[in-house]
Amino acid sequence: MRAKEALILTLFLVCSLAEARTKLVALPGRDSVILEMSHPQNTLVEEERILPLQKGRNEIDFSWNGVAIDSDSIRIRMLSHSDEVVLLSVSYPPNENALVWTLHSKGAWEERVRISYILYNIDRLVTYKAVANKEESQADFSSFLVVRNFSGETFDEAEIQLSQGEGLTSRVEHEETQKTLLFEKEGVPVKKTFTFDARTLPWDPTEVDGNVGIPVHYVIENAESSSLGVHALSDGKARIFQDDGHGSTIFLGEDNASFVPVGEEMKLYIGDSRDVVVTQRKMKEEKINIRKNNSGGIVLHDTDELITVKVENFKEEPVDLTLVERVEGEWEMAETTAEYTKKDANTLEFLVKVPASDEKEFSFQYHRRNVR
């Protein structure tokens, strides 16, 4: 145990227990430490120590200074004689960062115990790096574990456990940040998507200053077919690069990846394409099926609405663009020159395939029903 260790474990026997809490006796060293970091924010420390127990009552004083511990989370488990050593009580002395376990042991022996607690101000981040090939069909995908230890405690040799894969053994000093490779997969298939969301982007690019970029995403499937799919992928920042064909790379962009369960997709927004231009216009909006009250006022009507969409591709490669459209309320499609899928009651998605240096136009006409 390091001299400046902040966690102190004191063992004192019932016979020597005086009114004033006189701390004495051996300080059993940590045998092993596991930093369990599967929880995204909280780190569970599990340490094993050997306690020399007397027959009968024993009091174990566990105190901490200069570190923040969730005192409700502290637990002790007997590993050597789990049936013969009984935890009688846990008490918290006043005005101290400490607790006292009272144990009853059936014999005098060395007991291996596992003490666990939630230690604050130490956590981990997961980051990702992808290097796509020039064709953008696949990427070398790697993930890193970043341990940030500001807990006040230095761990000489700790095993860092995540829910996935094998643990890593490392020395982590107080106020140290450490970055280690978690995994590296070559040739992971990537899908590049272009999405124009008509709910958020301007419809007429000539009416805005600056370009209307079409968001471009890389999609990586967390599946066996992608050499992944064994574990869920933690949320974390991903940086994407691309092979430039000259033995070097360029940086394509970065995004915060969300947590991805096995079988789901990681979708990373890398940047905007300004070589695909979408112009959308409402050409018609008329009231139809008008129903009037007795005074001749309109109380209910349907609408006849026509939207035209032009997608220009200034790139030298074909583009598959997803157009997300929203139609409010109750509606039905009257006519469309492109196929769509209905994502929910009010959201439609059109997939538009535009050849290189070409453009596509389509329109859709719908009736909103029972508008008041």
């Binding site: 970055k179 360029i250 001749g296």
Partner: protein, 462 residues
């Protein structure tokens, strides 16, 4: 001035401090950090800068030959007074990849601007490594100069790029590459570079500590650098022509690679010609739209970024265009105006807005208004009617060149009908409540047309 440095510590047992090496150029170290813990200098080999313009971000890639010994090696990379994102630091061996394992990268406690790699090596000797990181403070932008011929039918378009280095670090003889495109970023590099802990802290995100710059020291260092750079520069072969910029598309971006290498000391900037194209046919376009531009038409110079217009080899990055006009045969110029132009893909129209015009005028006048087709409800109150108006539009071209004028009228709702007569040119319904008349006018020509608009109101509006 060089402020990034490298030290290695090696040892079979994993203990540190057998020997150290660092690359702090002597005067750089003395002047900048006052901390001279150098010795051997593993030369910074090839350096490559990939500079972005949509974000303050430069991808720096440098190669250095690092002496490794068998066993565990520790290598310290330090950067003082420069803005480097510590989370972006990466190092990969370029040779003997299978014999060298990078175990971890540690950012030592209570220090800033230092990263230590633990490297397991099965071999001894000098190994070339590639070190990459993101730096802040180097920027580039594009700008243009357009010179119209006297008759305004053609223009000469010159594109430039200007690279400025305010990073605090000199990158001598660096291959310089520029990225045209809009990347997505989550954080600003300058903010990441100033964080107290490289990845922040779970305790609290400590406020960025501003890097203090000792300007006197800096400027002295810069003078020293200029002296140092002056000598080799004179010895370098001089090109008898401006440098060329190779351009290629990558993903959604365009990569410009400047020929050879560039030395742009911190604090300086450089202008480089990107392209120069003469005789680009341009059209004088005037747009009238009261809701958007007011009563005066706005002048545009329009052309296309395509082969027909002698362009189209590359997209045009966004930037300021300064427009001049040749006045006479002696080459005197008139300054027409300047305007930011947005990014123009290959094949797309370019419309340079040059401000409102007094030489071309559009004057719409309501000649007659009427209310017709009244409808009444069961109480005898008015429930619907039509508003009709006849608008005469006069379009004048007072210029001595031919122009195109686009007149747009916004109606404000979708229930209307429109008839037109006279010299209205091309009529187009732009959307449910906007119409456009496009007219071509010869020098000093005047055209007149009339449109009759019927707007349906109340129960007449369907």
């Amino acid at each position: 001035m060089r402020k990034t440095g490298i030290k290695t510590r090696t040892g079979q047992t994993g203990r540190m401090a057998c020997w150290a090496l660092c690359i702090l150029v002597l005067w750089g170290g003395q002047l900048a950090s006052g901390k001279v813990d150098l010795v051997t200098l593993p030369e910074r080999g090839d350096t490559q800068l990939t500079i972005y313009n949509s974000a303050d971000l430069t991808l720096v890639r440098e190669t250095r030959a690092l002496p490794l010994t068998k066993g565990i090696n520790e290598l310290q990379f330090g950067w003082a007074n420069t803005l480097i994102d510590p989370t972006s630091l990466e190092m990969i061996p370029k040779e003997k990849v299978r014999d060298i394992g990078l175990l971890e990268l540690t950012y030592p406690p209570r220090t800033q601007g230092v990263g230590v790699w633990r490297i397991q090596s099965k071999v001894s000797g000098e190994i070339p490594f590639e070190i990459t990181y993101f730096a802040s403070g180097i920027r580039w932008r594009a700008f243009y100069m357009a010179t119209l011929t006297e008759d305004e039918k053609n223009l000469r378009l010159k594109g430039y790029v200007r690279v400025s280095n305010q990073s605090g670090e000199d990158y001598p003889e660096a291959q310089t590459r520029l990225i045209v495109g809009k990347i997505n970023t989550v954080d600003e590099i300058v903010a990441l570079a100033q964080r107290k802990a490289p990845y922040g802290s779970p305790v609290q995100e400590v406020g960025a500590k501003a890097i203090l710059e000792d300007r006197a020291v800096r400027s002295e260092a810069q003078r020293e650098l200029k002296k140092a750079l002056a000598a080799p520069a004179a010895a370098m072969p001089q090109l008898a022509r401006p440098k060329e910029i190779a351009k290629e598309g990558l993903s959604e971006y365009f990569l410009y690679t400047i020929e050879g290498t560039e030395t742009i000391p911190s604090g300086e900037s450089k202008r480089l010609p990107s392209f120069d194209q003469d005789e680009v046919p341009a059209k004088n376009l005037y747009k009238y739209e009261r809701d958007r531009y007011g009563d005066a038409p706005v002048r545009f110079l329009s052309f296309k970024n395509n082969e027909e217009h002698k362009l189209g080899k590359e997209p045009l990055p966004n930037g300021m265009v300064k427009v001049f006009r040749a006045l006479d045969e002696k080459g005197h110029l008139e300054y027409v105006g300047s305007r930011d132009v947005q990014y123009v893909p290959v094949g797309e129209d370019v419309e340079l807005q040059l401000g409102s015009s007094r030489d071309v005028q559009v004057k719409p006048v309501d000649m007659e208004i009427k209310q017709t087709h009244f409808e009444f409800d069961s109480h005898g109150n008015i429930s619907g009617w039509d508003d009709e108006k006849w608008v005469e539009v006069k379009v004048f071209n007072h210029r001595s060149i031919a122009v195109r004028v686009e007149c747009r009228f916004n109606i404000g709702h979708a229930n209307w009908e429109l008839d037109k007569e006279g010299s209205f040119g091309d009529y187009e319904k732009i959307d449910k409540d906007t119409v456009q008349f496009s007219l071509e006018l010869a020098p000093h020509e005047e055209k007149v047309f009339t449109y009759h608009l019927t707007e349906h109101r109340g129960t007449r509006a369907h």
